[in-house]
Structure formats: C-alpha cells, structure tokens
Symmetry: C2
Subunit: 214 residues, 2 copies
C-alpha cells in the first residue's frame, strides 16, 4: 500500500515536470513566432495548447483521486495541494504563450512588434524561456536555490514591462499607430503574467519543501 502511494506521489511529480517541459517548448516557440512573424509556428503553439489543457486536467483527476484514497498528510498533502495549484498556473502559462503566438498571427504579414521595441520584447522572450527551463529544473530536482533565481528573473521581467509602457507613453513608438500600441500593451502584459505564474509555482514549491505558506 505504502509502496503504491510513493509511486503515485512520484507520478504526480513526473507529470508536473512533463507539463512544465511542454510549457517551455510553447513559450520558446511563441516568442520565436512573435519575433519573426512566423505564422506556421504560431499556429502550432495554438494547436498544442489543447494537449497541455488535457494533461493538466488528467493530473487534477489523479491528484483528487490520491487525496480521496490515500488521505495524505504533511509534505505529501502539501504536494497534492501544490499540484492542484501548479497545474492551474502551468495551464495559464501555456494560455499566455498561445496569446503571444496569436498576436503575431493576427498581424501577419505585418509584425506585431512596433519599431523601437524589438530588443525589449526579444529580451522578455529570453527571460520567459529561461524561467520555464528553471521551473522544469525546480519541479524535477526540488532545489530550493532555484526559487530565488526564478524570482530574480521575474524582477527583470517587471522592469522590462515598465520600460515598454514608458516607451509607448512617451510616444517613442507612436509611428505604429493604435494597432502597435494595443499589441505592445497586450504582449508586455502577457509576458508579465507569465512571470507572475512562474513565481506562483515557486510559492507552491516553497510551501511543499518548507511548509511555509507565502
């Protein structure tokens, strides 16, 4: 019985890693599609989102089933609670990757990125991808040091988000008209939220590892 239970807990952990790996692929492809106006790649990200939704739902079903049958306590219970919340955040991160991909598809064959913001968005995309890779590592290795690294990346992302608005509002990118302003606003917001969800996941992992609810 105990052995089955341990195996089920490992299964939850492995599935979280699997979903995080798919999120990493999604955000890598989405930011590439956004930077290069690659509409085929954008459509692939949008199509692949469904798979992540299904995996997250299946993980929730497994987690609830374990809660009902095994009635875990202490860190095992915290992993179950964390799993329910981390699956939501991972699903949301995949949604945001899809939104970023969608922006480039809407504007195709034009670029969704206004002049003067190309480097800023490239940097935001790089940080997203790095955060996602670190999340995979955190979920797999459970090394608490990675939590701070992810939070530092989120701070960098927030600074770039503020910089986008500063540039847009001081009319440095006005030439692109309202469409460019809308796209820059939404894209920047999506990147910011992507980072927030990565931080949410670090909070759940911190709760799992330390028992402390942030």
């Amino acid at each position: 019985m105990r052995k089955v239970f341990q195996q089920e807990l490992r299964e939850v952990q492995e599935r979280l890693v699997e979903i995080a790996e798919l999120v990493e692929i999604a955000i890598k492809q989405a930011t590439t599609a956004f930077a290069t106006s690659d509409v085929v790649l954008a459509e692939q990200v949008i199509d692949d989102g469904e798979q992540i939704d299904q995996l997250a739902k299946a993980l929730d079903e497994l987690t609830i089933d374990i809660l009902a049958r095994q009635q875990p306590v202490a860190s095992d219970l915290r992993l179950m609670v964390g799993s329910l919340r981390m699956s939501s955040s991972l699903e949301r991160m995949a949604d945001l990757a899809q939104h970023i991909a969608q922006l480039s598809r809407y504007r195709y064959p034009e670029s969704a990125i206004p002049q003067g913001l190309r480097k800023t968005f490239a940097k935001m995309g790089e940080i997203d991808v790095e955060m996602a890779a670190k999340l995979v590592s955190l979920l797999r290795e459970q090394d608490q040091a990675v939590i701070d690294e992810i939070r530092d990346l989120d701070d960098a992302l927030d600074e770039l988000h503020a910089k986008v608005f500063e540039k847009v509002l001081t009319e440095k990118v006005q030439a692109s008209g309202p469409t460019g302003v809308v796209d820059a606003t939404l894209a920047s917001r999506y990147h910011e939220r992507f980072g927030d969800h990565a931080v949410n996941i670090t909070k759940q992992m911190n709760f799992f590892l330390s028992g402390e609810l942030e």
Copy 2:
C-alpha cells in the same frame, strides 16, 4: 467529531461567501472610481485589497488543515479542492479590481477613459458587479441555475471586450493618443479576466455540486 467536521465545512463555505462579498464591494467601488475619476475611492479599493489577500490565505490554511485532520471524501473533498481554487480566483478578482482602480489614479485628474468608450466601460463595470453579486449568491445558496447566468454574463463581457478593440483599432478613439489606447486596452483586459475568474469559480462549484470536472 462528525459534528465538528460539518461545522468546519460550513465555516469554509461562509468564508468563501465573505470574501466574495468583499470582491463585490471592491469591483463596485473600482468601476465607480474608474468612471468618475474618484481618486479617493480608488485608493480605498487599493488599500482594501490587502484584507482580501489575508482572508484568502487564512482560508487556505483552514482548508489544508481540514484536509489533513478530517481526510474528507466525495463532495466534502470536492469542496476542499474547490475552496483552494476559488480562493485563488477571488483573490485575483480583487487584484483586477485594484488594477482598474489604479488606472484612474494614474491618470488623475485626467480620465482614464478615452472619448467614445465611456458607455462601453460603464456597461462592462455593471456586468462585473452583477457577476460578483451572483457569485455571492451561488456560493451561499449553491443553486446550480446561477452558474448559467454567470456564464451568460461572461459572454456579454467578452463581446464588449471585442468591441473595445474594434473601436480602438478603427481609430475611433485615436484622439486620446497612446495613453488612451494603453488605458483602454488594459482596462478592457482586466474586465475580461474578471469575468474569466468568475467562470472559473462556477466550474469549481459545478464540480462540487455534480462531481464533474470541466
């Protein structure tokens, strides 16, 4: 023991209602502050957000404690799982109310609402408030019919969200410059997400009431 347990389940339900009532107040005040550029009211919404965060955190602690001590199954377990997720959505709805309030504070003494969008945002605000009131009712009375009413309101909100972009992109509100475009884009997005979280809560309540995971 059983009696204590039943009382604890009621406590979870009552706390969810309490938080939803505060979200209803927050969104009512935030949309009023936004419509009337009332900076004092906006600041109140921003200050009150902290209370909702604390209540949500305390509810999570209670829920996890009940999971550990009472090891609920069936609909009792579904209420616990739902509570963990609904508290997140309610907290997020309060955050979005704060964001809407913040927009009016940033632009004060100017209005954050570009010309030509006043009526659309007034309508979005009304729908938000109506959704929040219906959530309170759903959490209190657990009447499944309210779920559809909330989802219909979300559809109406999504239509208005599309209308905002249509107006902004066809340059009907261009006169307000990039600031107006940024504000309209963000405000509309906040309203849309507010509705999405209300729908998330209906999914959790549907799961609790019917056992079906959407």
